[in-house]
């Protein structure tokens, strides 16, 4: 038994244990904590499988962003829900949910086991088409060229999620400032950290997007880093997030998907919706990724900030 095999075995056991703890725990906060641990373990598993793009996305979005969304959702539930235990109906719903999840997990396991372990999958097709894709990273080529409509729809779904979060606002707060007021001391540690980290974060975010054409990285990973930096600066009290009625904010939210759609439409005029001419592909992909990064960063940050809950700063 090689050390690598022992490591992978432990990793798989820990991931399953964290998943069981997340769904089996009675304490919701504990479940969320284990969900975040599970996401980080899965990110390490993707690194072990040499899927660095997926690992970055899992760590940033799966563990980090989803984790913080779950924590803030939990805080909202605790603020608003009555303390009554769920009755018989709740138990039935839980059993139905458990059966549904077990069914989906079983189907996924069956699909994974049914794959030919020696099979090359789509790799030969992608390697063959890669010279025409404009970028050297096959993941970026798939996401922004070969299967661009998946990415386009994802970026639009994110916008819909934000609209859904905003629609939870009270009428009086509509158009106001997102989230509760931040109480950070202007000379406190968070304010210092909020001034220290942004330069690093900006460099990392731009690098992730720029390097994404040849190396692991891309708009979602870079956008998540930007969103985290923006939120940190807002939480440290250095800046205030804009009102949800702010026109520059809404323009930033819509710009990426709209530009992506426009590129797709131009492709449609030339013959294929979202089709890219090989000569221009690299420039177009980088432009689309830059626009998407801006919109994804704004959308994710505002998703975490929550629905508008006040009109005064």
């Amino acid at each position: 038994m090689t050390p690598a095999l022992v490591f992978d075995g432990l990793l798989a056991l820990l991931a399953v244990a964290a998943a069981m703890a997340a769904i089996g725990g009675r304490d919701l906060f504990g479940s969320v904590a284990f969900f975040i641990v599970y996401g980080l373990l899965i990110a390490i598993a993707w690194v072990r499988l040499d899927a660095i793009d997926v690992a970055l996305a899992e760590a940033a979005i799966g563990a980090g962003l989803t984790g913080i969304l779950l924590i803030s959702a939990l805080a909202r539930v605790e603020r608003t829900a009555s303390s009554g235990e769920s009755g018989e109906g709740g138990r039935l719903a839980k059993i139905a949910a458990a059966l549904l999840c077990a069914g989906v997990a079983g189907a996924l396991a069956w699909a994974a086991l049914a794959l030919d372990p020696q099979g090359a999958g789509l790799t030969p097709l992608i390697s063959e088409a890669l010279p025409q894709a404009g970028v050297g990273n096959p993941v970026t080529a798939v996401l922004l060229n070969f299967r661009a409509y998946d990415t386009l729809l994802e970026s639009i779904v994110l916008l819909f999620a934000l609209v859904a979060v905003w629609s939870l606002a009270d009428d009086g707060n509509w158009g106001g400032l997102p989230g509760l007021r931040q109480h950070a001391r202007s000379d406190g540690v968070l304010a210092t950290f909020g001034r220290l980290l942004p330069p690093f974060g900006l460099v990392v975010a731009v690098y992730l997007v720029w390097a994404g054409s040849e190396n692991p990285g891309g708009a979602f990973q870079g956008g998540t880093v930007l969103a985290a930096i923006w939120l940190l600066v807002a939480m440290a009290g250095i800046t205030e997030l804009p009102r949800v009625s702010s026109l520059p904010l809404r323009a930033a939210l819509v710009f990426g998907p709209a530009f992506f759609l426009a590129v797709g439409a131009i492709g449609a005029l030339a013959g294929t919706f979202l089709g890219l001419a090989p000569a221009a592909a690299k420039a177009i992909i980088l432009a689309v990724e830059a626009g998407l990064t801006l919109s994804i960063a704004a959308t994710l940050a505002l998703l975490v900030a929550g629905s508008p809950q006040r009109t005064q700063g």
């Binding site: 109480h183 001391r185 202007s186 000379d187 406190g188 540690v189 968070l190 210092t192 950290f193 220290l196 980290l197 690093f200 009290g237």
Partner: protein, 103 residues
């Protein structure tokens, strides 16, 4: 086994010891503030020792600097978060609150 291997082994073992001690403190210490103390001090030292142990194996200076930067950033983040958690856990009358904090 070369001297560099021995050095790396010793540093990583020392780092792992601090991670172990920090985890033990997190599990066994009686209250939040002493647990936080055990966790942050031990984790920072543990990660630092592991980074120092791995440095001579990195080959190029850029990677070494990246690893040191990772350590510095983790120390900064851990110290900040530890301060925030410790402040939240303080009883209300112990939290200093200057007048100019904008509330």
């Amino acid at each position: 086994m070369t001297p560099i291997d021995l050095y790396t082994l010793a540093m990583i073992a020392a780092g792992a010891f601090f991670f172990f001690a920090g985890t033990l403190g997190l599990l066994r210490f009686p209250d939040l503030h002493s647990r936080l103390h055990a966790l942050t001090k031990a984790d920072n030292l543990g990660l630092g020792l592991i980074v120092l142990g791995l440095l001579p194996r990195m080959g190029d200076v850029a990677t070494m600097l990246k690893m040191l930067l990772v350590w510095v950033l983790v120390v900064g983040a851990a110290a900040t978060v530890a301060q925030l958690i410790a402040r939240i856990a303080l009883p209300g009358h112990l939290r200093s609150r200057p007048k100019d904090d904008g509330r």
